[in-house]
Amino acid sequence: MLKYSLKRLGKSIITLFIVISIVFLFMRLMPEEGYFGQGYEKLDLIQRQTILTNLGLNDPWYVQLGHFYKDLLKGDLGTSITYRPKVAVSEIIKSKIFYSLNFGLGALAIALVAGISSGILMARNKNKFWDKLGNGYIVIINAVPAAVYYIFLQLYVTDIFKLPILFDKGNPLSFILPVLSMSLGPTASYAMWMRRYMVDELNKDYIKLARAKGLSNRVIMTKHVLRNAFVPMAQYLPASILYTLVGSIYIESLYSIPGTGGLLVDTIQRQDNPIVQALVLIYASVGIISLFLGDMLMAGFDPRINLEKQGGTR
């Protein structure tokens, strides 16, 4: 296991390196106006060049890239250029991640409980009323773009229950709707996959054997079906937890929550390279780490899965 983990770690670091370098070069392709914001027209050529040189943007790209990696090794993500000038990137991100993490984890907890239990309910009542109702919900949530139902929820639910429309730190009532809206999507996908894996499992031969030898329905469900159906779900669990760091662009801008959701788009448009690079570093690591943890978790749940051996006749 250790050898496998080390090999995978090495590969992940190379992937991260390439991703970051590509993004770094992409950001340098952007037009230079972005670095000046509103004042671009007023500055003359020499002033512009001085500013760019001071920012280190006139060096050849490989020198810039080298500086970036040297700072990164020291644990320094740099300082913001245009978003909040002269403020350390780590500080900006730290203050924002707090909100995204709390809202995301709250929504995930709701989605896990609601999604998995409704998935079980649907699988046990296959083709009956609850199943059809749940499927209708899943279709609507999956098909309609999230922005549309988020907007309508904000418009009408705040009216009906007299909830505050915008986020307010001191008012816990204003947390309810953002968390609930964020949980709708994951709930649908957890319910869908739970139902599908359980139905697959219920159709297998060993379940027929278990029934034939007289096991009660409850034992079959809890000991066999649920455990086996949960293995493929476990793979995505770390991803759902870690991706809460990324935040939700829609929810955070609709309710004006100061989270990380819109930060990437904002900083790309303002060409705040250090923040963009830091965010890409975080997002790519989140993706890679959650995939690794997911595989580990799946192997832990299911002793048949062996990550080291190349399976079958492949």
Partner: protein, 322 residues
């Protein structure tokens, strides 16, 4: 008790059933013949799902209407700003009436024709993205899954591309090219084919070493023929599903791109544009129709394609044919 019952059953059996049958040529032919046809069974299973059929009729009518709408009489232009004939003032935010079926927007354009024009744009984007995504995704997915030498390389490329946030690519493209339908399609295709390719690759890995493929390889069939004749027909149902889902997904990304300010310019109506325009003025209850009408049309389209795609994928899976 049980003995008497058994006796009676035995009495009722027709002794002629135990005679030897005579050979009947046409009868023998009948058992060997099957009138199973793949596509016929697929449509048969599809037609059994009443909801999907109803949605199919609805979406066909809707698409036909969006295509024909500009040629129908008494339709207004989606981009003309209408003025009051007497006063010359723009007809801003006019509530729905006989003249403007869905009312007018905040600068006096006809919402009815804007919605249909927007639907045309969005469907066009969706279909182009779907087709390109399928072409790129299937080609790369087949090579990735079937050609073992390429597996390692493409997996690494996938890992890199998958970890570059889409927004960076989209914003860059928006800078390099002017936002237009073509740019949006390119931007969506650059990233969307990844999931399709991975999906096709996983399917191919599952079926590529089945006995019939092994036999085919032993007989010296070239790779291109194995892929197109042995493997791809297996994937018809999943490819259909992905194609049908590409349309709601493309519409969703278009809404997202418009939301973050990278959408089409306002003089090209699209569903994303219209919803964004509606969102800006949604806090005024009397103007909410400008949000509700496009949202309803968009939901009908995305839900229909989603349901039809899923039903068709189920129907084209031979395991569901009876």
């Amino acid at each position: 008790m049980s003995n008497t019952k058994l006796d009676k059953i035995v009495d009722k059996i027709d002794p002629s059933l135990f005679d030897f049958a005579s050979y009947d040529a046409s009868g023998a032919e009948r058992t060997g013949y099957s009138d199973y046809s793949y596509w016929q069974s697929t449509f048969h299973v599809f037609l059994k799902n009443k909801v999907a059929v109803a949605l199919l009729i609805l979406i066909t009518a809707l698409v036909a209407y969006t295509v024909l709408q500009p040629y129908l009489p008494n339709q207004k232009s989606p981009t003309t700003i209408y003025n009051n004939v007497k006063t010359g003032i723009q007809l801003r935010n006019q509530a729905p009436d006989k003249e403007f079926l869905f009312g007018t927007n905040s600068i006096g354009q006809d919402l009815w024709s804007r919605i249909w024009s927007g639907t045309r744009t969005s469907l066009q984007i969706g279909m182009l993205v779907g087709v390109w995504q399928a072409i790129i995704g299937i080609t790369i997915g087949c090579l990735w899954g079937y050609v073992r030498k390429l597996d390692g390389i493409i997996t690494e490329i996938y890992n890199v591309l998958d970890n570059i946030p889409n927004t960076i690519i989209m914003v860059l493209l928006a800078y390099i090219l002017r936002p237009s339908i073509f740019t949006l399609v390119v931007a969506m295709c650059i990233t969307n084919w990844l999931s399709m390719a991975r999906f096709v690759r996983n399917q191919i890995i599952i079926i590529r070493d089945r006995e019939y493929n092994l036999a085919s390889r032993c007989l010296g069939t070239p790779i291109s023929r194995i892929i197109t004749k042995n493997l791809l027909p297996y994937l018809v149902s999943v490819i259909m599903l992905q194609l049908a889902l590409a349309i709601p997904m493309a519409i969703g990304s278009e809404v997202f791109l418009t939301y973050i300010g990278l959408g089409l310019p306002l003089n090209t109506p699209s569903l994303g544009n219209l919803i964004n325009e509606g969102r800006i003025i949604m806090m005024v209850p009397s103007l909410r129709y400008q949000l509700i009408f496009p949202a309803v049309v968009l939901s009908v389209i995305t839900i229909s394609f989603y349901v039809i795609g899923n039903t068709f994928a189920d129907a084209s899976d031979p395991r569901n044919h009876v």
